[in-house]
């Protein structure tokens, strides 16, 4: 088939239907006899998803109701767009939206750039044991919960904690890293980096190992120095991964880190640190204003849906990535 002459011919040629296997000739009864276990197997998954994914989607109607738990989804009075009108007229809403996007975007950018640099540096370290050890140490935090990491941070960042003692040695006054609006976002971004950068680094390292070493050897023979090889071979080699992760991260633009911020924040830093998710939690579950919180949540689910679909589309278009 490979040579160019045979192609026009095969294009003109009509496909001859080929009988593939016996299944095309099966009667319905034969099909059921063979395939019924498949439908039994899928039942539990379908039930769980119906109950805990689709039923809550129906529950979104509370955003258009004055919901009361006693009346339930079906019988609560309808109020149309009232909850949304209230929401959009509220200055607080713009603030939490800005905080969410700002924190999430800076986190994504810092995480990706940090991971690329770390992966390149680790790749240049030739001693295998050293590489393994460093990898082991930097992605340990990824597997710890925000309660454990938050507990550690609350201790070391406290006014008399070890970090303030350390900067005190340089004559700097103790800072409220978690309690002041000047510091809070920075602390969240940096501690998010601490937890996640190891994971992203591993993804890039996996891509780096797939680069054919022959390319490096050929370039070295042609006289390319170390940095030219990094620039012209290693970086282009992981470009598909960079593009892929950039595209997929688009789906995270509204994910600023709910569990992290819920663990670290306090009323003093609501101005700079309150995000959509923490706001939904406080308004909905702490103050029991279900409908208002439901409206905020629907706003986020709606935008997120389009962002995720777009991110998968871009990942497929530019990096050939498909989940299905």
């Amino acid at each position: 088939m490979g040579d160019s002459q045979s192609r026009p011919y095969s294009r003109r040629c009509k496909r001859i239907p080929v009988k593939t296997g016996t299944s095309s000739r099966m009667t319905i009864r034969q099909y059921i006899k063979r395939a019924w276990p498949l439908y039994v197997m899928i039942v539990p998954g379908v039930i769980f998803v119906l109950l805990f994914r689709y039923y809550p989607m129906y529950g979104i109607v509370i955003a258009f109701q004055d919901f009361s738990p006693a009346k339930g989804f079906a019988n609560s009075p309808w109020v149309g767009w009232e909850n949304f009108e209230f929401l959009f007229s509220f200055p607080e809403f713009g603030r939490i939206l800005r905080n969410t996007v700002l924190i999430a975007v800076v986190k994504i950018v810092a995480d990706q750039i940090g991971a690329i640099i770390l992966a390149l540096l680790l790749n240049e370290a030739r001693i295998l044991l050293f590489r393994r050890t460093i990898q082991t140490l930097i992605y340990l935090p990824y597997f710890l919960s925000w309660i454990v990491l938050g507990g550690i941070l609350l201790d070391i960042l406290a006014p008399h904690g070890i970090l303030n003692q350390a900067i005190g040695n340089f004559g700097i006054k103790p800072q409220l890293f978690l309690g002041s609006n000047n510091w809070f976002r920075g602390t969240v971004i940096l501690s998010g980096f601490w937890k996640n950068v190891g994971f992203s680094t591993i993804i890039y390292l996996a891509a780096l190992t797939a680069i054919n070493p022959v390319l490096h050897e050929a370039a070295a023979i042609d006289g390319a120095g170390r940095f030219r090889r990094i620039w012209h071979i290693t970086l282009p080699g992981i470009r598909p991964t960079i593009v892929l992760l950039a595209a997929l991260s688009l789906g995270d633009v509204l994910e600023a880190g709910f569990e992290q911020i819920l663990t670290l924040y306090s009323p003093a830093v609501y101005r700079t640190g309150d995000i959509i998710d923490t706001n939904v939690y406080r308004v909905g579950l702490v103050s029991a204003q279900y409908s208002l919180a439901g409206a905020v949540g629907l706003f986020k689910s709606f935008i997120s849906f389009f962002l995720i679909v777009l991110s998968y589309y871009l990942a497929d278009r530019f990096a050939g990535y498909r989940i299905l």
Partner: protein
């Protein structure tokens, strides 16, 4: 193997090794500090004299934590949650992934089922409706509220499905000719051939269940039902030591800061135990994510 032996290159190597070492130590330092505090006596821990090595070494903080009945109860709840939640996850993942890995000819309606699951992955009702549903099902204060809502992690199921699709068709065909049903094919061919993928998903599911805390915070109205991470939150975030069931007289002997440190470390130990396995399956998990059609 390429050798770069010019001076600039060696200088870079030196800088590189130094930088990576310092970076890794910085990542580790906070944990080492808390570990040192948790092994220190009351006076140095409270006064903040401890840096990275315990002062007035003592194991009493750990004895206090392990002797606390409320703490142990939350630990047991967490273990039960991990065992039931993970086995439920893996069972449902495998049972759902197997039919979906078939062609539409073998499993009619596959397309509809796929979109049913994918849409549920892309769009969700959000926190409040999910909470109201779990409550209306009468699951508050039960183990069910922790393991049932995410019994089928859809993304993991898709990874499993893609892995199943990579299993050679010839094996299945010869078994079918010998009269094997789908149950037998799944049990005797697909599962044995997919053990690495199953191990990866099992570990990730177990770690997720161990680390989860927010669901219990909203679904449990009684602190007595809290799993360990949620319980830990009342201590290290809300700084409420009354929950711990520690005798106030003991606090004259021990530093509350050191006790919190000891609890953080105890919550971390199970992760450290499985960490070597996590590492081994980590890369394979990433490759799993990249499995394509």
């Amino acid at each position: 193997m390429i050798r770069d032996n010019n001076r600039f290159s060696r200088l870079f190597d030196g800088f590189n090794y130094a930088f990576l070492t310092i970076f890794a130590l910085l990542c580790l330092a906070p944990m080492v500090h808390i570990f040192a505090v948790s092994l220190s006596g009351r006076a140095p821990a409270t006064a903040g004299f401890v840096s990275f090595w315990p002062i007035d070494f003592t194991l009493e903080n750990y004895e206090e934590v392990m002797g606390s009945r409320t703490f142990l109860r939350s630990f047991i709840i967490s273990v039960v949650r991990v065992l039931t939640g993970t086995s439920l996850n893996i069972t449902v993942i495998i049972l759902t992934a197997y039919p979906l890995s078939k062609t539409p000819r073998v499993f009619k309606g596959r397309g509809v089922f796929i979109w049913f699951f994918v849409f549920a992955m892309l769009f969700n009702g959000g926190l409040i409706p999910t909470f109201l549903v779990v409550r209306s099902l009468g699951l508050l204060n039960t183990l069910g509220s922790l393991v049932l809502p995410n019994a089928l992690p859809i993304f993991s199921m898709i990874l499993m499905m893609n892995f199943f699709r990579g299993v050679p068709k010839e094996l299945e065909e010869s078994a079918v000719i010998d009269g094997a049903s789908h149950w037998r094919v799944l049990w005797h061919i697909y599962i044995p051939l997919s053990l690495p993928a199953i191990a990866t998903l099992t570990l990730l599911s177990a770690v997720n269940h161990w680390n989860a805390w927010f669901d219990a915070l909203i679904y449990m109205t009684d602190v007595a039902n809290y799993p360990m991470q949620t319980f830990l939150r009342t201590i290290v975030v809300e700084l409420d030591l009354t929950n711990v069931g520690i005798d106030p007289r003991d606090l004259q002997r021990l530093s509350d800061r050191a006790i919190r440190g000891a609890q953080i470390i105890v919550a971390t130990v199970p992760i450290l135990v499985v960490y070597p396995f996590l590492q081994r399956y980590f890369i394979s998990g990433i490759r799993l994510g990249a499995v394509k059609e």
